[in-house]
Amino acid sequence: MLRYIGKRLVLSLITLLVLATLTFFLVKLIPGNPFLDETLPPEVQERQAEYYGLNKPIYEQYFVYMGNLLKGDLGTSLKYQGRLVVDFIKEFFPNSSKLGLTSMIFSWATGLLAGIICSQFKDKPIDYILVFIAVLGIALPSMVVGPVVRYTFGVKLGWLPVSGLGDTWKQFVMPVFCMGIGSLSGLTRGMRATMLGVTTEDYIKTARSKGLSPFQVVWRHEIRNAIIPMITGLGSTIAGIFTGSFVIEKLFVIPGLGKHFTNSVTALDYPLIMGLTLFYGAILILGNLLVDILYGVVDPRIRVS
């Protein structure tokens, strides 16, 4: 098992190097340059480019960047003068991850539960209601759900604080809900379908023939088998939840990484784009590794010996 994880980690490093290379050249393909400003004389712009080494041939820039990267140096921001890319991550990632993790736990717990409930009451009113909500949750993007929720519960009713994160649990409620509703809805529908599939499996007949109650059959025999296909979606959910928080962070005024990621692209802040992309890449890779390990935990048939 440890050997397997080790092997996967080595492969992950190679993936990250490829990602770094691709991102480096793709970013350079974007027209314009970070110092383009009509109010600045061309000489100043040139001097700035020279200072950051941006006037060198592109392959040379690449080797310099990769060399620094291998030393663990992600460089400094071009826009926020003198600020290390690492500092951005250190300062803003904790907020993003707090929000991301909470909403992931929220969406998984509620989504799976709702899916199980739907499957047990198939074609009954509660099933229709939950499926209807799930369809809405999938169809409505967070920039629609967010303002509606914020206006209703934050502004009109005044129940919940409209901004910030971390001072009280109340600040979590709305952002976590708005961020998790999409994947929650997907999970509800997915879990409903896999549960209904498992119900017709032969081993459920065996379980029933033992005189188990319907609850025991569901709890002991159905849920674990129904979760297996759901785990596949976990890897991308992890990435989605960390990167997709731009709208939510903006809306609820949460100082997270999402804003900087988006701004870095519009400002052509090369080192910041590169650094954050690689950082998200690493999270995605770790997420997928975690999913593969989890697979083995849930399904003994694909366990690595």
């Binding site: 007949k205 065996t206 029933r208 023939s209 005189g211 188990l212 003994p300």
Partner: protein
């Protein structure tokens, strides 16, 4: 009939009718069957796929898929109690405890994500509340030894996919017998196994049956297995029992053309090369609209006008042997002579 030989049956099913509601209409899967199971007896119910044999034992055990399937008529008496109208909750005391079932394919009928030891223990723990985990584990090991599973301590921690097909079926047998049931329903227990393993599993079931003094209802279309295990045989066709008799009576002196056809369809090793395999032409009737007359008339080479118009009644040849066929009437006997002697189905 059967009451005469077996007094005080452990299970008796009387005139049972079971139907399923489908989009196409009502499928009459079981159309009035009566059978009995004596204490410490093995009976076989044979017939082709879709003849209602599985449905009738599932109904007896309270495992009918509700609400699509329902008992329309008839009664099920288990151990002196009428369980026909027992609720699902009441049936749960019987299921897995006094009546258990083993199934056709041990791989798909075992939970892939649960260790086999736990799966075996489950029914025992369920029906012995307050049982200590350690004692239950002892019991599991005892039964794993009884079904000759090698290294029980090690194998009880394995998952089904880590065992061979034969071992898995042994797990199923251990699982079904751990509560020492009064009745074991075996729904095609050997169909998914290869031949050498089949014989082992049959021997195992026979030995264990006498050890725990239970009865077995065997469902199969493998007449070799029937000859090996059963004392009495019920032949089912299109949701009805067409013939019943002791093992000898069915194998040596079959009276219903369907039974004769079934027996003739068993591949033989002692025939010459290139003899065409015998079969019964045609297919069973649609149970959405069962025929008014004898259900087998469409495929029966001896069919007469009356067969398609009226259902034949049971006729007793002796205390145990009876069949439902118009050929049992003296007039038909005159026309066809002794059909069992005619041998080949097609030559009529």
């Amino acid at each position: 009939m059967a009451e005469m030989i077996k007094k005080d049956p452990v299970l008796s099913v009387k005139d049972l009718k079971v139907s399923f509601s489908t989009y196409a209409g009502e499928v009459q899967a079981v159309r009035g069957v009566t059978w009995e199971l004596g204490r410490e007896e093995t009976i076989a119910i044979v017939g082709e796929s879709g003849c209602g044999k599985t449905v009738s034992i599932q109904t007896a055990m309270g495992l009918l898929a509700k609400p699509a399937g329902r008992i329309k008529e008839g009664s099920i008496i288990f151990d002196g109690k009428d369980i026909t109208n027992y609720t699902a909750k009441q049936m749960r005391w019987i299921q897995g405890n006094e009546m258990t079932m083993i199934f056709q394919d041990p791989l798909t009928y075992l939970n892939p994500t649960m260790r086999v030891g736990r799966q075996i223990a489950e029914a025992y723990l369920q029906h012995h509340p307050g049982m200590k985990k350690k004692d239950a584990e002892e019991r599991v090991l005892e039964f794993m030894r009884k079904v000759s599973l090698p290294n029980p301590e090690e194998n009880m921690r394995r998952y089904p996919h880590e065992l061979s097909g034969g071992m898995r079926q042994r797990v199923m047998v251990a699982m079904a017998l751990i509560c020492e049931p009064k009745i074991l329903f075996a729904d095609e227990p050997t169909t998914a196994l290869d031949v050498t393993i089949q014989a082992q599993i049959i021997d195992l079931m026979k030995t264990l049956k006498s050890e725990i003094s239970g009865s077995i209802v065997l469902i199969t279309h493998d007449l070799g297995v029937v000859a090996n295990m059963a004392e009495r045989v019920y032949v089912m066709y299109a949701g009805q029992i067409v013939e019943h008799g002791c093992l000898d009576e069915i194998f040596e002196n079959p009276r219903h053309p369907y039974t004769i056809g079934l027996l003739r369809s068993v591949p033989r090793l002692d025939t010459e090369d290139k003899v065409e395999l015998a079969y019964i032409p045609g297919s069973p009737p649609d149970l959405l609209a069962p025929p008014v007359g004898c259900a087998f008339a469409e495929r029966c080479p001896f069919a007469m006008n009356i067969c398609k118009a009226w259902q034949p009644e049971y006729k007793y040849f002796d205390e145990t042997h009876y069949s439902a066929c118009w050929l049992n009437e003296p007039a038909a006997m005159e026309k066809w002579g002794d059909i069992t002697a005619k041998g080949v189905f097609g030559d009529v």
